[in-house]
Symmetry: C2
Subunit: 229 residues, 2 copies
DNA sequence: CGGCATCCGGGAAGATACTG
DNA sequence: CAGTATCTTCCCGGATGCCG
């Protein structure tokens, strides 16, 4: 009995790494399963519970609820209630939460060198957008300038490329040079899989509106790093 | 019975995120508890099993063994046997494993803004060294040039600061301008906690050899980012 | 549909003891 | 010192049911 008490109290609170290293604390904040992917899904704007679930194939409602509670307690996520008549509850990153983007980008870029990475699996829109910002090649994109639209079903994004940097945000598609109308996985096949745009258009999985030459050029700007061994 | 089979086979292999996103694959590689901290411990050179344990307070031998096996299978860590008479087994990062450094650095830097981060906990030497590379302030260090030694018991590191960049590696301390003889946690108190060097010297926890003014200047180059709220 | 509570089974992590 | 064996605890995920 006393032994039980002692061992129970031995854990300061939950399981902690007891390490002043920032990385160790980072793992206490984001180290649980799914946590980083939830932050990824929120990186380009607030989402509802069901939208989060849709971008995280395999997560249970149960686990998603727990993670959101934890992330909210850590002040990485905040929940907000939209004003009536919508009055839906949404989840969004705090200012500090948005600053986690480079962590996820570095992790993603590093992992694509893994011998076991399978780029043909399905992909959420947030993943696709983040990968464009991450994987763009400075040298190849040096002299490319343009405004791009991306339409994935209901979701739309706008991107601006100039001086080797890609900015992308969620928003209405207006005054762009060229628009990709497709789904994230198909766009990945074009950009990372080297599948010709014409072939994807022929099979009805993708449509280009606007400057076609610019679209053709765009999909060549994102080389995958060499695999390790 | 049949239901059991179906649910058992439902898991393709282990628990996978089924997501082409590089970050998701990164979590399959480094997402298990302790994995990133093990990589951190190996970031400045190979270590033996016991040395790893010493830098990871709280890890069980059991778990460390499993993680090393997993990291080896993923080609992030390789194990090597030193030639006789040492013939000890050591663990070291692969070339690709060393490339994970920026992930850990960004994670650590981001997490120090957490309201819950406690920088007074103990710290391993690898954490301390990595934090110096991570947290150095470009502007403040612009015009500081020097070579630094760090002696933590048996372990020694050499650093070179020039043009706002800090390079540090494990090695013998020779031809440096100033040397810190202390332990990682005390150095953190000086660099991040603002504790005066004189006070730490008075209590016998730290000793400076060489250019004292340079040492005093050095400890002002690593401001912590502002907390979030 | 969105979100939370509860129960259950499996597996990963921790404590301890033990072996070469 | 470098792990292995065993046992326990706790986290994760699936299923179900409730409630707005």
């Amino acid at each position: 009995m006393k032994l039980e008490n002692i061992t129970t109290m031995g854990k300061r609170e939950k399981r902690s790494y007891d390490d002043a290293c920032g990385a160790a604390h980072g793992l206490e904040l984001l180290g649980e399963r799914w946590a980083i992917l939830i932050v990824r899904e929120l990186m380009y704007g607030p989402k509802r519970f069901g939208e989060l679930r849709a971008g995280l194939p395999g997560i249970s409602a149960n686990t998603l609820t727990q993670r959101l509670e934890g992330l909210e307690a850590s002040r990485i996520v905040q929940r907000r209630k939209l004003p009536p008549p919508a009055s839906a509850q949404i989840y969004e990153l705090t200012e500090w939460g948005y600053e986690a983007e480079p962590i996820i980008q570095h992790l993603g870029k590093w992992a694509t060198r893994s011998p076991d990475h399978d780029p043909t699996l399905p992909l959420s829109s947030a993943s696709m957008i983040m990968s464009l910002k991450t994987m763009i090649d400075r040298r190849r994109s040096e002299r490319v300038v343009g405004r791009f639209g991306f339409r994935f079903g209901e979701e739309t994004f706008v991107g601006r490329l100039a001086h080797s940097a890609m900015q992308i945000w969620r928003g209405e598609i207006e005054t762009v040079d060229t628009t990709f109308i497709t789904d994230p996985t198909t766009l990945a096949a074009a950009v990372y899989g080297g599948v010709p745009l014409a072939e994807l258009e022929a099979s009805g999985k993708l449509r280009i509106e606007g400057d076609r030459a610019l679209a053709e050029r765009f999909v060549t700007l994102f080389p995958l790093p060499a695999k390790f061994v």
